[in-house]
Symmetry: C2
Subunit: 265 residues, 2 copies
């Protein structure tokens, strides 16, 4: 079985040029020194919000999720699939890795439907239906690193803005049959923190029962909950390891030396 | 040998939603009814200029070519590689063709260098050095239509804005060894016109000596000259046929029933 590492890189790193450069150099080195295949899913950062402001498009957020009207979809498609995706690909190429960038519309890699919700209209936000494993696995044999922007489509011509954490989890779990999959959620924090203000309060190992306990105590930062739900979901569905931690420590995250390891029990 | 059709679709069609839809429906039908493989290279249209205006970025043009400063490069990358490329891919998918979209940076498909010119600094404009035939041919076995945005890279992390007509010609000529290649330049006109104001003045067949004659008479619209130079270059280098004409008549262009056929002599 092929070792496959699926990495989500969070928005705050995307906005921080030196941190992003350093992350991409490390990723290219790891790829060239090892036998693993890599899929990198990137978030959007603040550039989309800046662009929207510059163009006079008002942004609405509900529960930390962007409401994607037609103009906002246009902007996120430009920023995520255009600017961020292609700059990451060009940087990885410059560092010797043969990277290639996509959205979920390309090759019908990720098909989704417009989110249905009883009270909130999220606009052009997609919830994932299918992942095209065969196409992804063929592309992995041809290229070193697949770089995926968080845009999907509905198969009927509509692009959809889709949560990057969820894309990472869904792709990781889709590929467990033919690969030994590690899922890394990398961002600006050292890991899952017991106290959001203390970088040294990293929980090294987090199992379900402990997660349930500290969640009920309100100890975990609300923004972390969807990521952790995705993480446990991945473990439930056969992903070998899930690690959450600081993007700049990618090498040690992959070995489990730093960050928070999510375990079944 | 595989039949391969390389199509450039011009900017004015990109801006005209019904014309673009109709073109993409025809392209998908042709792909599904035939055995040919397709590569579609798209231009940018006026959206990049509109975006630049909205964001207060001033645009400079010399000889019909955009001067690409850092801000303009950011905008064209967003518009060409993000918005236009992904919408075309999603529309082709909706019409049943398994399309996939790229820039030249992806998979190192097209490497270029920043244009050197004794007096004009074109900014981040790329002139092509190499085309990665092997990667393109592998992708053609896996997907129905490759959709390429006119952005390349220099292999050192720099994205470059690159003329879409030239990309189409370079890709077409690069693939002649293993493919029977047709190159189509499609746009809003019926073909190469003897009188730019008369749509019925199409030159049905244009060879080099006739081209030299009418060029010296100033009969050909200046904006058409680089396209024709590219067209003759393609014929010189082994492309089987080059046809220039109206995007909405794609089916008849491919068979040579309409438009201008470029021939060696």
């Amino acid at each position: 079985m092929q070792e496959l590492i699926v990495i989500k890189i969070g928005g705050n790193i995307i906005d921080d040029d030196p941190a992003l450069q350093s992350f991409l150099i490390t990723l290219a080195q790891l790829q060239q020194n090892g036998k693993q295949k890599f899929i990198l899913i990137h978030g959007g950062g603040k550039l989309a919000t800046k662009m929207a402001t510059a163009m006079g498009v008002e942004q609405q957020m509900i529960d930390g999720r962007r409401i994607t009207d037609a103009e906002t979809l246009k902007i996120v498609t430009m920023v995520y699939a255009g600017f961020i995706n292609k700059n990451i690909v060009a940087q990885l190429q410059a560092n010797g890795s043969n990277a290639i960038g996509f959205t979920g519309a390309d090759g019908n890699l990720i098909q989704a439907h417009k989110r249905e919700h009883p009270t909130i209209d999220y606009g052009f936000v997609g919830d994932i239906d299918t992942v095209n494993n065969e196409a992804i696995e063929n592309l992995l044999t041809q290229f070193d690193i697949l770089v995926i922007a968080p845009i999907t489509h509905n198969g009927k011509g509509q692009l959809l803005n889709t949560n990057a954490d969820t894309i990472a989890q869904t792709i990781a779990t889709s590929l467990v049959n033919n690969n030994i999959v590690t899922l890394i959620y990398s961002f600006e924090k050292e890991g899952v923190l017991l106290d959001i203000n203390k970088e040294d309060s990293v929980i090294p190992v987090l199992n379900k029962s402990y997660y349930t306990t500290i969640k009920s105590q309100g100890a975990i930062f609300a923004g972390m909950l969807p990521k952790l739900d995705n993480a446990f979901n991945a473990i439930d569905k056969g992903v070998k390891q899930v690690i959450i931690g600081k993007a700049e420590k990618l090498s040690q995250l992959i070995t489990g030396e730093v960050g928070t390891s999510i375990v079944y029990e």
